[in-house]
């Protein structure tokens, strides 16, 4: 773990140095040196513009993502547990899972207008299907011997669900949540660029079209950092909930 962290740091530092040097040699607006990006970032931060837009974006992200997690897990559990529900829904879920979600944006505008509801809907649609499918698969793969064991000791359906199915499916559910998080960030930026120019998506479009590359890269780096932080948060949660599985995997 520690040596890995060290290698990560070295990797980032060398990329930063390479970027800085390339930027200075090229002396072009297309690849601004890292120091200029840093300065632009600091300016954005000081003006409060980044923080304001970031708050806007992250609220959308959080709302859409938590909806996707809640609804995705519930639907996935039902599909995994009840054959009828699975057969009723799996066609749509599978189609929508691989369909380009961006194509639904015009429909969402018609339904929800140009406000925050539409952006939340986009984030939701980006994230929800992968959570459904992972949850369903997790439930279906629960070792039937464990269910039999619980039943044999007198467990009722409710106890089988909460004491066997749910914990056994948790690693798969968390894998879905992790993948859903990545997709939710994509959905957020897509929504802000395609739908209504708000939040950090709007900043990207604005700086991109005016060739303000230093600010543009500053925003992009911010998005990367957010993606990294949210991923770490989900992974932390994953370890807390399914630490037993990780230990098995290491051995």
């Amino acid at each position: 773990m520690n040596s890995r962290f060290g290698t990560n740091v070295i990797s980032i530092l060398s990329l930063a140095v390479l970027w800085e040097v390339t930027g200075r040699i090229m002396d072009s607006t297309l690849i601004p040196p890292l120091s200029r990006i840093g300065a632009a970032w600091w300016k954005l931060l000081a003006s409060g513009k980044l923080a304001a837009n970031l708050t806007l974006s992250l609220t959308t992200l959080a709302a859409g993502f938590f909806l996707a997690v809640a609804i995705g897990i519930i639907i996935g559990l039902l599909m995994g547990r009840f054959r009828a529900v699975e057969h009723f829904l799996d066609l749509y879920v599978n189609v929508l899972m691989s369909a380009p979600t961006t194509a639904f944006v015009p429909v969402l505008i018609m339904w929800f207008g140009l406000g925050v509801e539409s952006r939340i809907a986009v984030v939701f649609l980006f994230a929800v299907f992968v959570i459904i499918i992972n949850t369903m698969t997790g439930v279906k793969q629960v070792d039937s011997v464990l269910v039999e064991m619980a039943r044999s000791f007198g467990a009722k359906e409710k106890e089988i669900f909460f004491k066997i199915i749910l914990p056994a499916a948790m690693p798969a559910i968390m894998a879905g949540v992790r993948l859903g998080m990545g997709r939710a960030v994509k959905g957020m930026v897509t929504a802000e660029m395609l739908l209504t120019l708000t939040g950090i998506g709007a900043m990207i479009m604005q700086y991109g079209s005016s060739f303000a590359t230093d600010s543009l890269f500053a925003v992009i780096l911010t998005i990367l950092i957010i993606a990294m932080i949210t991923m770490q948060a989900v992974q932390w949660l994953d370890r807390r909930l399914t630490g037993w599985k990780a230990e098995i995997a290491i051995e």
Binding site: M149, S152, F153, K163, I164, A168, T242, E247
Partner: protein, 259 residues
Amino acid sequence: MVEIRGVSKSFQKTVKDNTTEVKALTDVNLSVRANEFVSIIGPSGCGKTTLLKIIDGLIPCDSGQISINGKQVTTPGPDRAVVFQTFALLPWRTVLANVEFSLELRQLPKEERARTARDYLKRVGLTDFENHYPHELSGGMQQRAGLARALAVNPMILLMDEPFGAVDAQTRQLLQEELLELWQRERKTVIFITHSMDEAVYLSDRVVVMTPRPGQVAEVLDVPLARPRIADEVRRDPKFVELTNYIWGSLKKAMENHH
């Protein structure tokens, strides 16, 4: 105590749109006395495990019936507990929490659960491992936890489904000796499914030989060996050797008749 009367069971087996009926058990009759140790031995696929599941009430039989002390069995009940071949421990729970699982389902208060679970972990020699997870333990230790979980609910009848089939030979002998010791102290009725003639004779009061599918009782044999049985001595006893040979012959005959 346990009366098995005319039990038959078939399964639907579907291979590519082709559904056939497979007869697993046909007209099985057997009586098991209180505190008796009975082994059921038979070729693979003779329905031994199916019979055990029917006795436990996990699956219904098509015809016939099982009764325990005169009461008909339809569902799993607190008078029975199963020890599973693949241990069936919950990998996300520690050994202690696994043993507590069966007590949780019986709605025991928390402190009592922990106390009882620790007590049974002590009896199977796992006291030092209560905070380990199943994957950190050897197969033999995992099955000791499985045994503790079953004993903890204090059942009258212990149903054991090839419990030592998944551990290595040396551990198997050790577990057999430990089981006999426990059984001598706890005095449960044990119905023990096995593949091993040696194991069946060493452990049991009576050995039930089953025919190949559809399973039926071919023969019920008394084991004329005194208890307590010392493993090394018993296995050299001429009566032991004679009986194992006889069972082998009986199994062979049952299998030949079948072809």
